[in-house]
């Protein structure tokens, strides 16, 4: 299956613009898995896991999804679409910041966006849990990773790589 690069660019642009505080996994699943059928739930989880061990932003998973949808051009279109417009918007917002910082509606806007961002993050965790946790060992590994990361200062990439090794050994 090879999707049109232009379609990929527009789709990922929209996904970038509706992401707050990171990636918007519920929307990514709805659009890429359910509507477009470009990736499977398994590939969604695989790409997210790969993103954790890549240098740079974790949501390079988008490059993986784009590659699955449309090969090399799909990967580039997905990356450019997801990161380009939001970066442009950020640069513009920075240049307007001084006027914005005195705006009396800015603190209310922040207070209104925060709970939304938290809800999106938790819904994203559920999406990931549904596509990753198919067995008790898997659930135990997720809990162990969470506890380890909360209690120690170990690098997340080390935890993810360790879990990959454990997964291979256990034959998850």
């Amino acid at each position: 299956m090879t999707a049109d690069a232009w379609d990929i660019l527009l789709t990922f642009t929209r996904l970038g613009l509706v992401s707050f505080g990171g990636a918007n996994l519920p929307e990514i699943e709805r659009v890429l898995v359910e509507h477009k059928g470009w990736i499977t739930p398994q590939l969604l989880a695989n790409g997210f896991a790969l993103g954790q061990v890549m240098p740079g932003p974790n949501m390079l998973a988008m490059t993986h999804y784009g590659f699955a949808a449309g090969g090399w051009w799909g990967a580039l279109a997905a990356t450019a679409g997801f990161y380009g417009p939001t970066a442009l918007l950020s640069a513009a917002a920075m240049l307007a910041w001084q006027r914005l910082s005195r705006w009396r509606w800015l603190p209310p806007l922040r207070s209104a966006l925060l709970p939304f961002g938290a809800g999106v993050l938790l819904a994203g965790a559920l999406v990931l849990a549904r596509s990753s946790l198919h067995s008790w060992p898997a659930a135990l590994m997720a809990v162990a990773a969470f506890v380890l990361l909360q209690r120690t200062r170990v690098n997340p990439a080390v935890v993810v790589l360790g879990a990959a090794g454990l997964g291979a050994v256990l034959g998850l």
Partner: protein
Amino acid sequence: MPAPALSPTAPDHPAQPQRPPTPLGLLRLFVGVALVGIGGGLPAHTRRALAARGWLSDAAFAEAFTLAQLTPGPNAVNLAAMIGAHLCGPRGAALAVVGILTPGLIAMLAASVVTLGLPGGLPPTLQSALRGAACAALGVMLTAAVPVVKVALGVRGGAVLAGATFVALAALKLDLLPVLAVVVAAGLTLNRPRSGE
């Protein structure tokens, strides 16, 4: 040419740049940030790299960081765009973003070719390894969610609005934009500026 100061309180930072940043210098800085940022924590690495070069005060960084959370998109990349724009204008922003994305883009393309290009799909061992990695990735995601949820619960109406967002997206699978509109409108109403404040 130096960019205008981020805030009126900027003169109190003593760190003089050893050499003023150039767009190419920003490109190098953000490639470095991406390379040490395996596993996340990019904003912290960005702050450390900028402080080491004396290019940005902590106060200016904090402002940029807050703003990066308010704009849509991945925070770390937004932050790179903002700091690039602040220090070197549009060219600085463009090269900062290219810098933070390039190492991972190359690595992810290689991983995609290997994992998706295999005839007959992934070998079982590799798929098992990825399943294990995905479980840990879920743990990583929950760790990142904890501080956001804590702050959100401290906001007026935060628990109800965060819960409503979760239910609307995860259980009811509603469209994101209407949910965003309703939740933000409710949040703005609850937190509106009071007269006399």
